[in-house]
C-alpha cells in the first residue's frame, strides 16, 4: 500500500511539472505576448517598456528558471492581467470550482443512487419511466444543460442567470453571502449534475439488479427480512463497488463539464480564469492554471482510487502483479 501510494504521488508530481512546463513553452511559442494583446493601443516604445517591466523580453530559459525557482517555494509569480500573485488567484478560483463540483456531485449522488436502487429492483411503468429519463439525462451534456437552464432562468426568473453572487466586491455579512451563493449555485450545479446523475442511476441500477440475485439476499428474505430491508441492508452494500469506482472516472468529466458551465453561467472558477489568462497571454497565470488543473485531477483520481482500494483490497494487489 505504501509503495503504491508513493508511486502514484511521484507520478502526480511529474505530471504537474510536465504540464506546467509545456504550458509555458506553448504560450511562449504562441504568436503575440501580453504586451501585444493587452497593450494594443500603445506605441512600440511603450510596449517595449511594458515587456521589460514584466520580464517578457528575457529568453525562454531565463523565464523558465526563474519561474521554477519560485515554484519550489510555492511562489508561482505575478499575474500580469490581475496584478496579483498567481497562487492566490488560483486558490480563490479553484475553491469556487470545488464548490460547484461538490454541489454537482452531491446532487448527482442524492438523485442518481436512490433512483438506481429503485429502478434496479422494481419493474413496471415507473421503472421504464426512470430508465427513459436517465437516458435523456445522459444526453444532456453540461454545455447544453447550462444553456437550457439559462434559457429557463431568463424566461421564468426562478433563479439568477449567472455569476456566483450578486454582490461581487461588496462587503456583506457572512450569512447574507451564503444565502446569495445558495441562490446562484443550483443552476450551474444542476447543469453539471444531470449527466452524472444519469450515469450513476444506470450503473447503480445494473449492479443492484445483479446483486439482488445473490444467494445471501434470497437467504435474508427466507429469514423473514422485509423486501426493502433486504434490498437496503443486504443487496445495496454488495452492489456499491462499481458505483464507487465510477467516482474516480467522474472527476475528469466534472473538470471538462465545469469548464463549459463556468463559461456559460459566468461562474468565476478555474476554467474561466484559464480562459481569460489565455486570451490575454498571461504567461504565469496560464501555467498556474494548467498545473492546478493537472494537480486537482491527479489528486482527485488518487483519492478516488484510494477509496476504491479501501473498499476492495484487490485493487492494490492487482496493480503490483
Amino acid at each position: 500500500m505504501g509503495r503504491y501510494l508513493a508511486r502514484r504521488i511521484a507520478f502526480a508530481c511529474v505530471l504537474v511539472f510536465v504540464v506546467s512546463s509545456a504550458a509555458l513553452l506553448l504560450t511562449r511559442l504562441a504568436p503575440g505576448d501580453f504586451a501585444a494583446v493587452e497593450g494594443f493601443e500603445l506605441n512600440s516604445e511603450q510596449r517595449e517598456q511594458l515587456r521589460a517591466r514584466y520580464a517578457l523580453d528575457q529568453s525562454f530559459a531565463t523565464q523558465y528558471l526563474s519561474w521554477l525557482s519560485g515554484a519550489v517555494r510555492f511562489d508561482f509569480g505575478q499575474s500580469l492581467l490581475y496584478s496579483r500573485p498567481v497562487g492566490e488567484l488560483i486558490g480563490e478560483r479553484a475553491l469556487n470550482t470545488a464548490v460547484l463540483a461538490t454541489a454537482a456531485l452531491l446532487i448527482a449522488t442524492l438523485v442518481g443512487v436512490p433512483l438506481g436502487i429503485y429502478s434496479g429492483t422494481t419493474s413496471g411503468i415507473a421503472r421504464a419511466l426512470v430508465k427513459s429519463v436517465s437516458t435523456i439525462g445522459l444526453s444532456i451534456p453540461p454545455l447544453i444543460g447550462s444553456l437550457l437552464l439559462v434559457f429557463i432562468a431568463a424566461r421564468t426568473g426562478w433563479f439568477p442567470a449567472g455569476g456566483m453572487t450578486s454582490t461581487a466586491g461588496v462587503d456583506v455579512p457572512w450569512a447574507q453571502w451564503v444565502a446569495d451563493l445558495a441562490r446562484h449555485l443550483p443552476m450551474p450545479a444542476l447543469a453539471l449534475a444531470i449527466p452524472l446523475a444519469a450515469t450513476l442511476e444506470k450503473l447503480q441500477s445494473e449492479s443492484i439488479a445483479s446483486a439482488s440475485h445473490e444467494r445471501f439476499v434470497t437467504a435474508s428474505r427466507a429469514r423473514g427480512v422485509t423486501v426493502s430491508r433486504s434490498i437496503l441492508r443486504h443487496a445495496w452494500p454488495a452492489s456499491l463497488r462499481p458505483v464507487l469506482g465510477l467516482y474516480g472516472l467522474m472527476i475528469g468529466s466534472l473538470f471538462s463539464g465545469s469548464f463549459a458551465v463556468e463559461v456559460v453561467t459566468s461562474w468565476p472558477g478555474l476554467g474561466r480564469l484559464m480562459f481569460d489568462a489565455l486570451k490575454a497571454r498571461d504567461l504565469f497565470l496560464v501555467m498556474g492554471c494548467a498545473a492546478a488543473g493537472a494537480f486537482f485531477l491527479a489528486a482527485g483520481t488518487l483519492v478516488a482510487d484510494l477509496l476504491l482500494a479501501w473498499t476492495d483490497p484487490r485493487v492494490t494487489t492487482r496493480d503490483r502483479a
Binding site: 505530471l15 510536465v18 504540464v19 504550458a23 506553448l26 504560450t27 511559442l29 504562441a30 504568436p31 437516458t135 435523456i136 445522459l138 444526453s139 444532456i140 451534456p141 454545455l143 447544453i144 444553456l147 437550457l148 439559462v150 434559457f151 432562468a153 431568463a154 424566461r155 442567470a161 449567472g162 444506470k202 445494473e206 475528469g252 473538470f255 471538462s256 469548464f259 463549459a260 463559461v263 456559460v264 476554467g271 484559464m274 480562459f275 489565455l278 486570451k279 496560464v286 492554471c289 494548467a290 488543473g293 493537472a294 485531477l297 491527479a298 483520481t301
Partner: protein, 319 residues
C-alpha cells in the same frame, strides 16, 4: 423468453438509432442542396425573426410573410393577407421564409443548422475515425510487439489520459493564431482531437491484442509466414471490432461537444462559418435567449445526436 424479447428490442433500438445517425450524416453531406439559403446570407430587415409556420394554399405549402413591426425590439407581424411559396420553390429577398427563425444577423437558422451539421458532424466524424485508426494501430502494435515499444506507447497513452482534456484542447487551440481560414481550423482542431482521443482506443486494443496474440489462429498465421502488418491488420485489429465500435460511439459525441465548446468560446470556427458551436455562441445571451428561443436550435440538434449515439452505446456496455 423475456430476455431474448428484450434483446430483440434492444437490437431494434440500436439499428434505428444507427440508421438515424447515418441519415443525419447524409443530410449533412447534401446540406447545400437541402438548405434554402446560403449560411452567410443575412437579411438585414429580419434580425431575430421568429420561425414561420407553413399553411396549405391549394395543395402546395406556403407561408404568410413577416413584416417588421419594430426594428429596435425585433418585433414582427404576420401578414395573413399575403402568401409566399416555400423557399425551395422561389425566393424573394423582400419576403424570406425562415422555417426555424433567423439569428441576430438575420440569417436563416434552418439553413445554418444544415450547413453547421456539415462542419460539426464532419469534423467529429473525421476526428473520430482518425483517433480510432491511430489508437487501434498504436494499441495493436504495442500489444503485439511488447518490449520497450509497448512501454513507450502505453506510458504516453496513460499520460495523455490523465490530462484534463478540455484544458489541453483549449490551451493547444488558444496558442495557435486565432484568425485562420476555416479549412485550417478544421485540420488543426481535428488534429488536436485525435491527439487527445487516441489513447482511449489504444488502451483497450492493446489489452485485447496482448490476449489474442498467443491464440492458435495467430500462431497459425505466423507459421504460414504472414508478416507483422498482415497479422495486425487482417487478424488482430478485426478481433477488437466490438471495442472499436464502443469507443467510436463514445468519441463521436465527445468530439461534437468539444467542437461546440471550442467554437462557443470563440476558439473554433470564425463566425461567418456555420457550426453548431458558433451558432450557440450567438445564442448564449441572457437577454436574447428568453425572447428568441429558436436560436437554441443547435443545442437541440446536439442533444438529438448525443441521444442517438447513447442509444447505440448503452446496451453494449452491459456485456
Amino acid at each position: 423468453m423475456d430476455r431474448s424479447a428484450s434483446h430483440d428490442q434492444r437490437s431494434r433500438v440500436i439499428r434505428r438509432a444507427g440508421l438515424f445517425l447515418v441519415a443525419l450524416f447524409g443530410v449533412a453531406l447534401i446540406a447545400p442542396i437541402l438548405a434554402p439559403y446560403q449560411p452567410g446570407e443575412a437579411f438585414r430587415d429580419f434580425i431575430n425573426a421568429p420561425p414561420m409556420r407553413p399553411h396549405l394554399s391549394g395543395l402546395t405549402p406556403s407561408f404568410h410573410p413577416l413584416v417588421l413591426a419594430d426594428r429596435l425590439e425585433s418585433r414582427f407581424e404576420t401578414d395573413v393577407t399575403r402568401s409566399v411559396p416555400s423557399p425551395w420553390v422561389s425566393q424573394d429577398a423582400a419576403t424570406p421564409v425562415f422555417l426555424m427563425g433567423a439569428d441576430d444577423f438575420g440569417r436563416d437558422i434552418f439553413s445554418r443548422l444544415l450547413y453547421g451539421a456539415r462542419t460539426s458532424l464532419g469534423l467529429a466524424l473525421v476526428a473520430m475515425l482518425g483517433a480510432v485508426a491511430i489508437g487501434a494501430t498504436a494499441g495493436a502494435w504495442a500489444g503485439y510487439q511488447g518490449g520497450w515499444m509497448d512501454d513507450a506507447i502505453m506510458r504516453t497513452a496513460d499520460f495523455v489520459l490523465v490530462l484534463p482534456v478540455i484544458y489541453v484542447v483549449v490551451v493547444l487551440r488558444a496558442v495557435l493564431p486565432l484568425v485562420l481560414p476555416a479549412s485550417t481550423v478544421f485540420l488543426l482542431v481535428t488534429g488536436i482531437f485525435i491527439l487527445v482521443g487516441w489513447p482511449f482506443v489504444a488502451k483497450g486494443v492493446r489489452a485485447i491484442v496482448a490476449g489474442e496474440r498467443s491464440r492458435e489462429y495467430v500462431q497459425a498465421a505466423e507459421s504460414l509466414g504472414a508478416g507483422r502488418w498482415r497479422i495486425l491488420m487482417v487478424h488482430l485489429i478485426p478481433a477488437c471490432g466490438g471495442h472499436l465500435l464502443v469507443q467510436a460511439t463514445l468519441l463521436l459525441p465527445a468530439f461534437i461537444l468539444a467542437e461546440a465548446t471550442l467554437s462557443f468560446i470563440g476558439l473554433g470556427f470564425p463566425d461567418p462559418i456555420a457550426s453548431w458551436g458558433t451558432m450557440l455562441s450567438g445564442a448564449a445571451n441572457y437577454n436574447s435567449v428568453a425572447r428568441f428561443p429558436w436560436t437554441l436550435a443547435p443545442a437541440v440538434a446536439i442533444f438529438i445526436v448525443v441521444l442517438a449515439t447513447n442509444l447505440i452505446a448503452s446496451p453494449r456496455e452491459r456485456h
